[in-house]
């Protein structure tokens, strides 16, 4: 089934099975591999991307359901908030194995895009869907606060 959508600012046309999840279309058909497969049932958040600026779990949305819409992956996460998040992640050395971190940063970016001064409770609510088996949660929280502070400055 042919479908068109915008990915990281570029219009893309793909011909994929009707039920193929957006995650696998991004990874396999468009070679954008930052978004990771972790569970396939929207429980871990490793596949988080933005759909029209909202964080979604790409593993559980058929690509054909997002025709005509706008998708942002970590590769194209170039908004002011996105850059601030990725900078803070590096400055605090948040990563360990790193596998979940693309999804973490996309959730965190979406949080800052809707809330420039998130509280710890806001962070809990926004990041609760992103598992990190290395439990880098402390630094994720600290990096979001750091990015928010950098955006204030």
């Amino acid at each position: 089934m042919k479908v068109q959508f915008t990915v990281n600012g570029e219009s893309r046309d793909v011909d994929v099975p009707e039920d193929k999840p957006l995650l696998w279309v991004l990874r396999e058909d468009l070679k954008l591999t930052a978004s990771k497969y972790g569970c396939g049932i929207a429980q871990c958040g490793a596949c988080t991307v933005h759909l029209d600026d909202q964080p979604v779990r790409a593993c559980s949305i058929p690509a054909t359901a997002v025709a005509g819409r706008t998708i942002t992956t970590l590769e194209g996460n170039q908004s002011t908030e996105g850059k601030a998040i990725q900078t803070a992640w590096r400055e605090l050395d948040v990563v360990q194995c790193g596998y979940c971190q693309s999804g973490q940063m996309m959730s965190a970016t979406a949080l800052l895009q809707s809330n420039r001064r998130p509280t710890d409770a806001d962070i809990d609510a926004a990041m609760g869907g992103n598992l990190c088996r290395c439990a880098t949660y402390h630094r994720i929280r600290a990096a979001i606060h750091k990015a928010a502070a950098a955006l204030e400055a």
């Binding site: 954008l32 049932i41 970590l74 590096r90 990563v95 194995c97 940063m105 992103n130």
Partner: protein, 731 residues
Amino acid sequence: MLKFLSQPVATPTLSRRRFLLTTSLGTAGFVIGCSDTRQQAGTPAANNEPVVATDLNAFVRIGSDNTVTVIVKHLDKGQGVSTGLPTLVAEELDADWAQMQFEFAPADVTRYANTKSGSQGTGGSDSIANSYLQMRTVAAAARAMLVGAAATAWGVAAGEITVVRGVVAHEASGRQAQFGELAAAAASIEPPTDPTLKSPDQFTLIGTQVPRLDSPAKTDGTALYTIDMDLPDMKVALVAHPPKFGATVREIDSTAASAMSGVLGVYPIAAGVAVVADSFWTAKKAREALVIDWDTSAAELRSSEQIISEFKQLVNETGAVARDDGDVDAALDGAAQILELQFELPFLAHAAMEPMDCVAHVTDERCDIWTGSQLTTLDQGNASAAAGVSKEDVHIHTVYAGGSFGRRATLESDFVVEAIAISKAVGAAHPIKLQWTREDDFASGYYRPMGLHRVRAALDDAGKPVAWRHRIVTQSFFAGTSFERMINEGLDPLAVEGAANLPYAIDNIHVDLQLSRVYLPTLWWRSVGHTQNAWVAEVVVDQLAKAAGQDEVAYRLELLGEHPRHRAVLELAADKAGWGSPAKTGVHRGVAVHESFSSYVAQIAEVRVSDAGELTVERVVAVVDCGVAVNPDIIRAQVEGAIGMALGAYLREAVHLDNGTVREQNFDQYRPLRIHEMPTIDVHIVKSAEAPSGIGEPGLPPLAPALTNAIARATGKVITRLPLGDQLKTS
């Protein structure tokens, strides 16, 4: 764990130190001379000239662009070794951190063996420990070669040359050069056999917070994991694994699957039935379309309840003796107080975020593997047997692993061998990427084994412990594998670690082990036997202190007279947590101290339990002594992560068998810790001049007992069955 996988590495006439130099420096002078397209972390060349890379030895490669590439012999699965080993090299090379980069070593036990085990691999929290002198020595030798090249070029004495942050200089003549200019000439300099290493007071990088080398790639999406591999003509394979352990295929109807567009074929292999297709999604759909009649006549059909019942029988039978000090029976007979506790622990899943995966390409001549290879020499050997090529023709290309926690270190190289079997079935035309789904990852092995522990301990009338009998029932990882020889007369050393070496001064101690039958494949899970034994021992000690009417910290200190490093971390933890002063209203503290992988960790947990029985872990104070702290920030990260992982396991992680089928097949049922549950964690590192020891695992074991002890103070209830679940709930 690697120490159990030993093989001879050196002839008896060579000392280890000498051996390291002769082997690891043996390739000096080999100039690669190729265009270097690897990920460049350092300064790129100013023009478009190809970067010429010169190997000064097996571990240190200098680029004509002044980059220093460290060949990292260990897998980085998050623990930071791809920063740690380059730190050791940069220190002795006097390099600038900005010029450092790394790549993972190929499989080559002659150059990249663990210096302790002799086998190339990663585990037992000993990557820094076994590399500490080796990396510094090869770097110091490389430095001497660069200095020698400069001395020759400039006609000055080597002793007058300095190296500071990557700049080689001769002050008197005003000459200076960077590594890249000197590398080619340096390669032909004879390396010193015994280079002088810095004394700790000369360190400028060790002990400082250098940034992780893997952070940039892991934050911009370019870090390459197995799942990201994409080779020309590559196909994706999924395997229908048996629904119960030990089940076999009776009959396959692959008509519908084979007819699907994009499916290359369906291949029965030892591990199950492989479906190979042009994409993950097609392979997954085709796997769902397979109709397989499984023969479960020889399969494991028990449920967890039956297994624990069998354990409860075994705990009454004498096991293989791991320690026998004094006369426990006599001491128990004459004791003033006797305490007996029985503990139950579940199967646990590693649940690394990246489900198991491996790319394989087998041809007549060679076998290439791309994966996060953890026990590389074992993987190479198992791959050689599976592929039918010599070990030397098995080429392992190690990439980042999205976690492991022990899972990628299987004795039988399960998923690697599975990928090779598929590649052989498919033929050389297509490399194949075996990708496990999350459900495969949970349901197809491996697991931290269940455990049942009984401790009977006694106090004299002064409250001093006089007897300690600990019986462990669990399944050995080695049983039923080609490593069965690791079990010595019923004793698996990994099952009793942290129990047989109980540090407390008790005259009569007896520890024995009853190994169960093999139910399903089990494996080391972050901190291995310590995950069980630290919990049991430290909860019992706390109860002994209570029975003696003594403070839990003071009681332990009294019994740890011969163990100064235990004492030091415990005292510092008590100090940092304010143990001697009251906690906030409603907050209760619990303490534990444990040594694992030669590192010492004390933790004090602060918890709150509501009237309804809701547990909140507010803070954990952790004090670690892991010898020289090569990178304190990574040490803190490891301890934070270990505590988070341990807390998730404590609260609710468990794998259950229902008539032989794994109940928890995804993260909706097996639920690791999430961000809102992460307590405040204060990590303190003891300043130490001891040799560096483990840090990937030692932060984990003390958490469960510290929590249990805190909960006991809060509620009076001693938790002896994990996970906690709703045991505290009052409604």
